[in-house]
């Protein structure tokens, strides 16, 4: 069990104000009292992540209790207003909370596309009624969301999407197909881009919300190289969508989509910052052993891991700085693309190195010993990091054009 270190105390000592230092002390005390000990242990596998939703089964009473307590305090979405299930914390307070959660090794109480992606978009573009209807169930993990963006012929060129929504007065009728819909089969609701005008590419797209239990919705998981099926094909056959579930106005969906893609990219980028249960170098030391000088007994791998860990530490600082810049209204709007690019590539590097560290032991696919090939499957899963949410190449295009203002289309 990790305990707070001198370094963590130094963080506290550097708080900008006595109020913030007091908030840190209270936060730590509350977390120590309320985070179940099991929820401070590293997860054995991705299966132990809490996603919430109507179809979710808690893995343990501790997991359920941890979610309940955090949600009651508004700390699953600390910066959201209280009326929507948040705690109304300032950016600085939220940063302190995140630091304390990390320092105490607390697990995330709730992973959620609703929190990371839809929520921020609704806060910006939603009507008051939409916020009140949808945000609180996201905050407490009651409703799980999926994202209907990509289509078979609209991948990197997302704005060419063709799923149609016909206007029928008080509602739309949606027909078409989405693909790579993450966890569509496990989600309760979908936020979806649909074409409401064929005359204009970007200005003919609308952003709608609907229940995945609606008649005419069908999902089909896609088996991936990892053997898992986190992504689905999703088919819509005359699905009725009430017009009160249109967000951001008719044909204004691309504006919502762009903001939301920024949040998605920040989320995927942050996997580069999500340290493994134990630092890579220490895992390597335990698995491979040290030589007489106390160095990893595989000098070339040691060099690669050292370089990786320097980049990982630097990227963690970058993620912190990006948050600070964003709070200070100094972040370039293209910055999430840079973070997404780097975080995705970093995570792929991490898993290539982990596979090298565990060698033959990481190759078993089916045994209990290998937790059914958990490492190999995760390694393979990471290959999608630089494809989903916009490929690395698309992110570099965005950085080149929007941030560096290089010429061309």
């Amino acid at each position: 069990m990790a305990t707070p270190t001198a370094a963590d105390a130094a963080v506290g000592a550097a708080d900008a104000s006595p109020e913030l230092a007091e908030f840190r002390a209270q936060t730590r005390a509350w977390l120590l009292a309320n985070c179940p000990p099991e929820m401070r242990q590293p997860m054995a596998s991705e299966d132990e992540v809490c996603w919430g939703g109507r179809k979710f089964h808690f893995h343990s009473p501790a997991q359920q209790l941890w979610l309940q307590r955090m949600a009651e305090r508004g700390w699953t979405v600390p910066t959201w207003p209280r009326a929507y299930g948040g705690a109304g914390l300032s950016g600085q307070q939220a940063k302190v909370l995140a630091q304390e959660l990390r320092a105490l090794n607390c697990r995330s109480p709730l992973n959620s596309f609703g929190i990371w992606m839809l929520g921020p978009a609704l806060l910006q573009f939603g009507t008051e009624a939409q916020k009140l209807e949808h945000l609180p169930p996201i905050a407490c993990g009651e409703i799980r969301w999926c994202q209907g963006y990509s289509e078979p012929n609209a991948g990197s060129d997302l704005a060419s999407l063709a799923t149609r929504a016909e206007d029928r007065g008080d509602h739309f009728v949606v027909n078409g197909q989405k693909i790579w819909t993450s966890y569509a089969d496990k989600a309760d609701w979908i936020f979806c881009l649909v074409r409401t005008d064929t005359a204009s590419k970007h200005n003919g797209i609308s952003f709608v919300l609907f229940d995945m239990a609606s008649p005419g919705v069908r999902t089909q998981p896609i088996a991936l190289i990892s053997g898992a099926s986190p992504f689905c094909e999703t088919f819509f056959d005359d699905v009725r969508v009430d017009k009160r579930n249109l967000v951001g106005g008719l044909n204004k969906g691309w504006d919502v989509a762009k903001v939301l893609l920024g949040h998605e990219r920040a989320m995927i980028g942050s996997i580069g910052d999500r340290a493994a249960a134990k630092p890579l170098g220490q895992q390597a030391a335990a698995a491979i052993g040290l030589d007489a000088q106390g160095r990893l007994a595989d000098p070339l791998l040691r060099a690669q891991i050292a370089e990786f860990e320097c980049d990982e530490a630097a990227f963690r600082a970058m993620m912190e700085r990006a948050g600070d810049l964003s709070r200070g209204k100094q972040a370039h709007p293209g910055l999430p693309s840079m973070l997404k690019y780097y975080g995705a590539e970093l995570n792929k590097r991490r898993w290539e190195l982990l596979m090298a560290v565990y060698g033959a032991d990481a190759l078993e696919w089916d045994s209990d010993r290998s937790r059914h090939g958990d490492r190999a499957r995760t390694w393979l899963r990471t290959k999608a990091n630089s494809i989903e949410g916009g490929t690395s190449e698309v992110q570099l295009n965005i950085v080149a054009k929007r941030i560096l203002e290089l010429p061309g289309v």
Binding site: A10, A14, G281, A285, A314, A317, R321, G328, K401, P407
Partner: protein
């Protein structure tokens, strides 16, 4: 603390930028090189540095300095990097001042810090002895004799050594501990050879043959010498990293300008995705290295004396990343400028040369990645 410059630090950056771009553009370094200037830097400019407070930035106010921290020092060093300004600031104003501030006796501080802050004297650290930076394995030795010390050995890559009034010499004591000794220029047994470097900046080699020093030449207590050297080097590494990122930023800006103007195949070459993606990757590296540097500087300001493992690790990451990022930036800069980048008439080569020296100084990227791994227990 936020990983951003404060308003005051931003103002400092802007004022240093304006001052240096006017007083010491890259052309000034070219002029120093082409005229084979005897001191290798501009003494009038150095006096202005003192007036502006740069020389005493890290020196406590009681000794005539500004008493600022390593973030501020880095802000100045970045601008120095952007203009490739040759000056003893890194050696004297940052590294030697830090050593004296950390470990100097009241008398040593009173004797030197006000003069360093006022640019009335130049001090420099003499630590390296071989081609590679190995501060834990010193061949230069110090033995007690009578009431004082006798030093023997040789030093290399002593920044501004040919104009220094004071050397802070790292030497191995008979006990195996590291001692730091204040050695004034002109002391019998000390030979100084100026080494003109690839980057047209200044360094020297020292020979020490039975150099006799008084008991008061030792900086701090012998048992704390290694820790003082560590902390002093940490300050130097952060400052060198800041200079590296400053020059890398400048090269990147110049390169972007160039590929937005140069036409080939009927297009601006900046329209080609082959160049766009490389520029975007470099942008990411620069931003991430900047975040790591700011974190290291803030850690030093919070914790220079104890230099906790986390602070050392942050400094190692910052210097490793800055060295690698700047190396990429100058290489891409020369490549993307094409044949122009290879000419001496064009400034870009000056940046490449300076980056090479700063990469090597006080540990290159490999040294610091290795140090990081060692800190992490593998």
């Amino acid at each position: 603390m936020a990983l951003m410059l404060t308003d005051e630090q931003t103002q400092l950056r802007d004022s240093v930028r304006d001052f240096l771009s006017e007083q010491s553009p890259v052309a000034a370094l070219r002029q120093l090189r082409d005229s084979a200037d005897a001191s290798g830097f501009s003494r009038p400019l150095w006096a202005r540095f003192a007036e502006m407070g740069y020389c005493g930035m890290l020196v406590p106010e009681a000794h005539g300095g500004l008493g600022l921290g390593h973030v501020e020092a880095g802000v100045v060093m970045e601008q120095i990097g952007r203009q490739l300004c040759a000056s003893p600031l890194l050696a004297s104003g940052i590294v030697a001042s830090t050593a004296l501030k950390l470990a100097g006796s009241a008398a040593q501080q009173a004797a030197w810090l006000p003069r360093l802050a006022a640019a009335q004297a130049i001090a420099t650290l003499a630590v390296d002895e071989r081609a590679k930076h190995r501060p834990q394995a010193l061949a230069t030795s110090a033995r007690a004799e009578g009431s004082g010390w006798v030093l023997d050995g040789a030093k290399t890559l002593v920044l501004d050594g040919h104009v220094a009034d004071l050397f802070i010499v790292a030497a191995a004591l008979p006990s195996g501990a590291t001692g730091l000794f204040l050695l004034p220029a002109g002391t019998r047994g000390l030979a100084v050879e100026r080494t003109v470097m690839v980057d047209a900046h200044n360094a020297a080699r020292l020979q020490l043959q039975a150099v006799q020093l008084g008991a008061d030449a030792l900086l701090g207590k012998p048992e704390a010498g290694a820790a003082t050297l560590d902390a002093t080097l940490a300050a130097g590494r952060c400052a060198a990293a800041a200079e590296l990122l400053g020059l890398a930023d400048e090269v990147f800006a110049r390169t972007l300008d160039y590929i937005k103007q140069r036409r080939q195949f009927g297009k601006l070459i900046g329209e080609f995705q082959g160049l766009q993606h490389r520029a975007a990757v470099l942008y990411a590296d620069l931003e991430i290295s900047r975040a790591a540097l700011l974190q290291a500087q803030q850690a030093l300001d919070a914790d220079l004396h104890t230099a906790a493992a986390s602070t050392k690790a942050a400094v190692a990451v910052a210097k490793a990343r800055a060295g690698r990022t700047a190396t990429t930036a100058v290489q891409e800069g020369v490549q993307m400028h094409g044949g122009m980048g290879m000419t001496d008439a064009f400034d870009i080569g000056f940046f490449m040369k300076r980056a090479r020296v700063l990469q090597e100084l006080w540990g290159d990227s490999h040294f610091h990645a290795d140090a990081f791994a060692t800190h992490q227990g593998y």
